[in-house]
Subunit: 346 residues, 3 copies
């Protein structure tokens, strides 16, 4: 499997990054998160270079972290500023400092070469800060599966009829073909289900009287961000692709953070064009999403458990795999580019 | 350790195979069991060939199984009959179909080459369907030990005095020698304990006034079936080997199903020649068996745990090992015959 | 890591070695402890040489142990004395017998070559049986860490300010240098903190009005015994190194028993020169020690967990590592001497 290091990942929603030492794990690396007295998020290697005690088991003193075993103290840039009992501070007495960036209620972390960290590359969606749209944060859903399985799922509109039959899918979509497009590092998979009963979600929120036209556009920006544009219009409208704004429309956004080869966190949120002053609608929609994403979690964890056992034969390839296969190719290319020696021999 | 594939194994008692998707594991293979609308048991590889989701997490539709991720659907013979979103069904879109056979309240499964499955080889014991005998089903006892440890235990009358002192053994049998005979794939170990107080089991069910003659004949049919003919007669009768029908006589039957290298299920039942119209006697006898077999479970699991650590020296060989050693030789030969290349080099 | 076999280890406090079969584990070896009818402690390999069942799952009969599977019986010297069903006792039918020695409330065990076991080498501290001193037993603290991590901690006075801020340390000691001396197989690390407020422990027990002089002498006798001489005197006394008897003085004694590469037991006790007729003082002091040693446990287990992951770079070496480094060198030398072939090639 393939971690892409030179990319921004969600370390946590802003409200989940407190002014206390908070251990997290990304790409199998232990990281301690905290805020300075000024409120800036800091991410350091969570391991004292002396005896390897997690620094998160120590004490936050001002903007510095004191190890809980012998008091070695590190500044917010990762450099040792104090060793009790000796005056010289060896040059090797540092811990890795991860670049961070906070915007729009999200703390981002850069896992790659710090020299390449560029905040202009942090993901943004115009609707997240646009009048007429209401963003609403969801959870950080922990899933015991490699993030690529999550990514695969998020390039795959075909699963909703089977995995989410009461919320995001219904039988009417079962056989509708999926359109696939590749655009640089983005894979777009989409389909329209025309003139069919609304799915559970739009029964709850759309107030539709009869059949609807429903669309799903899955934009996956490799390696780790998915935006799902979905919604419904009254079928009588015969809305065109460009008339989605006439309907009830949402963007469900997923930020995938690889925790280890077999674990990931899916930070999900949504932004919607209805009920934008109704905070309770955001909560009620999230309840629906929570049901649906827990259904994905069950599937993805079962698939991951099966990987503990070697495959005895090649997988069957289906037409609906086109989008996921594009995506996996892009992720593999990105990872290989970061490790040129490895790519050459594998 | 050695799995013998070309053999019938108990998949479950009939009453434990419902018309719903039921996951089981045999020889480290995941299998989904269900019944067709006509009631026939079906056993399929429990893994979709697309993304490896267990089919048992999907839906039973008529006689077919629909995968819970993308709706691929398989018939009771293992062949794919539907792929939502495409018309062609690739030849590789199949799951393994295991032959099954149901008889006398037991669902059997064939783990080897389907071409060799022959229902005439399914185990049968005449007393199971004979007037004058009452069969009574017991449990499917899960034991965290390789099935060969269970088989060893079931060729070994010598352990009952130490493992089952209150139910199936007593001190009088401690030093009585064991007779051993090999008959093709069957090992028979036996002994008579003459003119001794009855064991706990026959105190409870035999109504004996004084000493008894007690016999144990362990028939182990390799690789996985044990029949234990045991009983007691009044010692005054001085019964000969052929006069066992004069006493209280039972056959305890054990069907061993290997789950993995370190797990097995012991499906056990009994058939008796007393109280044949008294259903409560069957239940009361099973209570005694349950105590005894749980005692075996504790021993066998302790031995299995020790195998995680390499042995530092050769085991001591005892006279009582003759039966178990025959049996292990037969099982090894059967397994080797199935893998001729492997047998030659090992 | 390195086990030193030719050494006496604490198998348990005397009161924890009953006349029943008691399984313990030392250096990854399973051992059954019991007492003979005369009360002598016995330590045998806890594994029947027949089927490897732990003997501790069997029965104690007089001074012998009967296996719970087939009744093989072993004397207190480890030799088989009975095999039910056969008369000859093979010479190989033995289990390892570990030399033991009981003194002063402690059962010691010798893990190495029995021919080298010499009870004159059992650890002793004169104060443990001297008028004017009160010994008091503590616990057998189980810690999921290699014993060398515990040993490291017990050559390291510098950690108390950070790990035990409310009991055995306070900020005043944070920067005070540590003296280190090596004496054969003993490492002595020590320091005096002069004219400072008393630590929590001496606030509770010393009845001091103002500042004190406080000393810590850590004597680590490789491979596994630590004696910590610590105490306080009124600072006005200006006590010299040789005048420690004028103050409140304790010896905290730790006997480390390696359980496996990742587990150890710390049997700890203390002896004190105050309140020697006040048994409740011993209990109250142990409550303080219990708080402190549980703090060590948390640190040491966190460090051990980190070792599951390879180190990505060399550890930073600090001045305070001098004592622990001496100690680890001594332990490595002792272990290598026991395995000359291995030492030559590593």
């Amino acid at each position: 499997m393939t971690f892409v290091r030179n990319s921004w990942y969600v370390a946590g929603w802003s409200h989940a990054v407190p002014r206390t030492l908070t251990p997290i794990r990304i790409m199998d690396e232990d990281i301690v998160l905290y805020r300075t007295e000024a409120g800036d998020p800091v991410a350091l290697e969570d391991q004292c270079p002396h005896k390897r005690l997690p620094l998160s088991m120590g004490r936050l003193k001002g903007d510095t972290v004191e190890c809980g075993y012998h008091g070695m103290t590190f500044g917010a840039n990762g450099r040792c500023v104090r060793i009790p009992g000796q005056n010289n501070l060896p040059a090797s007495a540092t811990v890795h400092h991860y670049p961070t960036h906070e915007a729009g209620g999200i703390v981002w972390i850069w896992m790659g070469d710090p020299a390449l960290a560029n905040i202009s590359q942090v993901f943004d969606l115009p609707q997240l800060h646009h009048p007429g749209w209401a963003p609403h944060f969801g959870d950080g859903l922990y899933i015991e599966a490699n993030y690529v399985h999550l990514a695969d799922n998020l390039c795959d509109p075909a699963h909703v009829a089977y995995v989410h039959p009461t919320t995001l899918g219904n039988p009417e979509s079962a056989g509708v073909p999926v359109e696939v497009e590749r655009n640089g590092r983005t894979v777009v998979t989409s389909r329209w289900i025309r003139d069919a009963p609304p799915i559970g979600f739009f029964k709850a929120f759309g107030n539709f009287k009869g059949n609807v036209d429903r669309w799903h556009y899955y934009y996956f920006h490799a390696p780790s961000t998915a935006v799902i544009d979905f919604g419904s219009t009254d079928a009588a409208l015969k809305a065109g692709e460009d008339e989605r704004h006439l309907g009830v429309r949402l963007f469900a956004v997923h930020f995938l953070t690889p925790v280890s080869e077999t674990e990931a966190i899916d930070h999900w949120m949504h932004v919607r064009n209805i009920g934008i002053d109704d905070e309770t609608m955001g909560d009620r929609m999230n309840e629906q999403f929570r049901i649906a994403f827990d259904e994905d979690k069950v599937i993805l964890e079962a698939i991951q458990r099966r990987e503990a056992k070697p495959r005895s034969r090649q997988p069957v390839r289906l037409t609906i795999d086109k989008g996921p296969n594009f995506l996996k190719k892009i992720i593999t290319e990105m990872a290989d580019r970061e490790r040129p020696d490895k790519a050459a021999t594998e």
